[in-house]
């Protein structure tokens, strides 16, 4: 079952229904007793609409966070649960905790709520509606790796940050937290949540990525080993610590267990945050009639033709062979009446402006790729534009300090493939949508923000 929720940042409406379930396994092996039925969704968002959950309601529903008493104890539980990161890369959570827990210096733990992706609302919604699950997860992660230095890095929104500061103060007063939590402002940039940019920002520098190695889990905030997890990942951790791996696996697929938050952009222009099981058919999440293509994985993701998407589920198992991935759960249905090339060109220009401009290939290549795509979006484009673009894409991939060039070219390359019919139309001087009213969401002030990284 998927549930919609009111998103405080966008238009709201009830979410779509339906999910695939696997039957619940044996009773949980976690430290806490049995919890709510594992198959019930939503888990992270309150059942009844969008009323934010205060500390009293949270504790009466879930009890206080189940501290284990020793570092390391949560790690095998997370391994058995099969939890993967919900920030985009779907990396197994236990492996990062293990690496950080084994470090010789005291680590830092950061909850990543930067949510720089303009088409994503799920982290802001989660922090707004269920802040205490995220804060529980942060404490439990800190205990697991033996850290006392904890912070929550949050998208720049004064109301949200104020509410989180109040929640943190309330927990401190109630004696629920073991480590003090700082709320740190994330600049409203696409790259602000990239983990090395995050570490740089929290160390007092601009939020720009740096070259790896060393990875952030080796040397991050002020040079210390740093565990960075997406805020949704932390919220899942808080529940797995209570109810155990079998409960977590009661929804989802064996290979990709659990539920995840998605930001849905149906073709009618609405915007919803829903929680759904992995393995849910995409057509249950988005109505696909009147849709030509689905964008999965946000602006570093890929377009998939609607006819193919109709046969896929929300899983990397289905999406990766098509060059896409689940990512952080952004799904956009592009109406048949819009020009996919013009839409991609507009976003590519934004992505080029969001480059930190530190790496030669990214600095030189992304604006050229965006300009070439603009050319392809125009009537009777220069036929060299596509070949230039493909050459430049090859020149930027794998050559940045971060994955911004790689994500950008994945998005652009998928458009060249999926909208090839539209490219032929443009060559003949036609376009499906000459009016070109923007569909994919972008921040209003991209160009103005271009110089502000702190």
């Amino acid at each position: 079952m998927t549930y919609g929720t009111t998103v405080p940042y966008s238009a709201s409406s009830p979410g779509p229904r339906g999910s695939q379930r696997v039957s619940p396994g044996p009773a949980g092996t976690g430290p806490a007793g049995t919890g709510p039925a594992g198959g019930d969704l939503p888990r992270l968002l309150p059942v009844h609409g969008a009323v934010p959950v205060d500390l009293h309601t949270h504790v009466s529903r879930y009890a206080a966070p189940p501290y284990f008493g020793h570092p390391g104890q949560l790690i095998p539980v997370l391994k058995a649960a099969g939890l993967t990161g919900r920030g985009g890369a779907a990396f197994p959570v236990y492996r990062k905790l293990q690496a950080v827990a084994e470090a010789r210096t005291r680590p830092v733990v950061i909850g990543n709520g930067a949510e720089g992706e303009p088409a994503s609302d799920k982290d802001k919604s989660l922090l707004w509606i269920s802040p205490h699950l995220v804060l529980d997860g942060l404490q439990l992660a800190a205990e697991a790796v033996g850290s006392q230095a904890v912070a929550l890095y949050v998208h720049r929104n004064a109301r949200l940050q104020e509410r989180l500061r109040a929640a943190v103060a309330e927990r401190a007063a109630a004696g629920i937290d073991r480590a003090p939590v700082e709320i740190i402002d994330a600049p409203p940039r696409f790259l602000a949540g990239e983990e090395s940019a995050l570490a740089s920002r929290i160390s007092g520098q601009p939020a720009m990525p740096r070259f790896k190695p060393p990875r952030v889990f080796e040397r991050g905030v002020v040079g210390r080993p740093t565990l960075v997890h997406n805020v949704e990942t932390l919220a899942h951790m808080a529940l797995i610590a209570r109810y155990g791996p079998a409960w977590f696996r009661a929804v989802g697929t064996p290979g990709e267990p659990g539920s995840m938050l998605c930001t849905l952009h149906p073709a009618d222009g609405r915007r919803d945050v829903v929680e759904t099981a992995l393995g849910t058919p995409l057509r249950e999440l988005l109505r696909l009639d009147g849709t030509q293509a689905v964008l999965s994985g946000g602006y570093h993701g890929a377009w998939v033709p609607a006819a193919d998407a109709a046969r896929m589920t929300l899983s990397n198992e289905d999406l990766q062979p098509a060059g896409a991935f689940v990512g952080a759960g952004v799904l956009v249905a592009l109406p048949a009446t819009r020009c996919g090339i013009a839409e991609t060109a507009r976003v590519a220009r934004y992505l080029a402006l969001e480059s930190a401009g530190q790496c030669g290939p990214c600095f030189n290549g992304l604006p050229r790729i965006a300009a070439a795509l603009d050319e392809v979006a125009s009537p009777r484009p220069d036929p060299r534009a596509v070949t230039d673009m493909i050459r430049w894409a090859g020149l930027v991939e794998g050559r940045g300090a971060c994955h911004h060039p790689d994500g950008t070219t994945r998005f652009v390359r998928s458009a060249l493939h999926v909208f090839r019919e539209e490219i032929r139309n443009h060559s003949a001087g036609r376009c499906v949508d000459p009016a070109r009213e923007p569909f994919l969401p972008l921040p209003a002030d991209t160009a103005l923000a271009a110089a502000d990284w702190s």
Binding site: F211, Q358, G360, L395, G398, A401
Partner: protein
């Protein structure tokens, strides 16, 4: 242990000295930035590689364990 040459693109200023010192492993792209072969550095080039690493004016070249 096998080593691999990498360039830190945030440090590289693209003057191309490395491509002159080590044409066996480094070419320049159309904007003048180095493209480094992603392969273990052959032993026969060890000395040249070390030279390129120390001579890069911005210390952007790194000799790292091969991936």
């Amino acid at each position: 242990m096998k080593k691999e040459l990498r360039v830190d693109p945030t440090a590289c200023s693209g003057h191309g000295l490395c491509a002159e010192l080590l044409p066996e492993l480094i070419t320049l792209d159309e904007w003048g930035y180095p493209i480094v072969a992603r392969e273990p550095v052959p032993r026969s080039l060890d000395r040249h590689v070390r030279r390129a690493v120390t001579d890069c004016p911005t210390l952007a070249l790194r000799l790292l364990p091969a991936s």
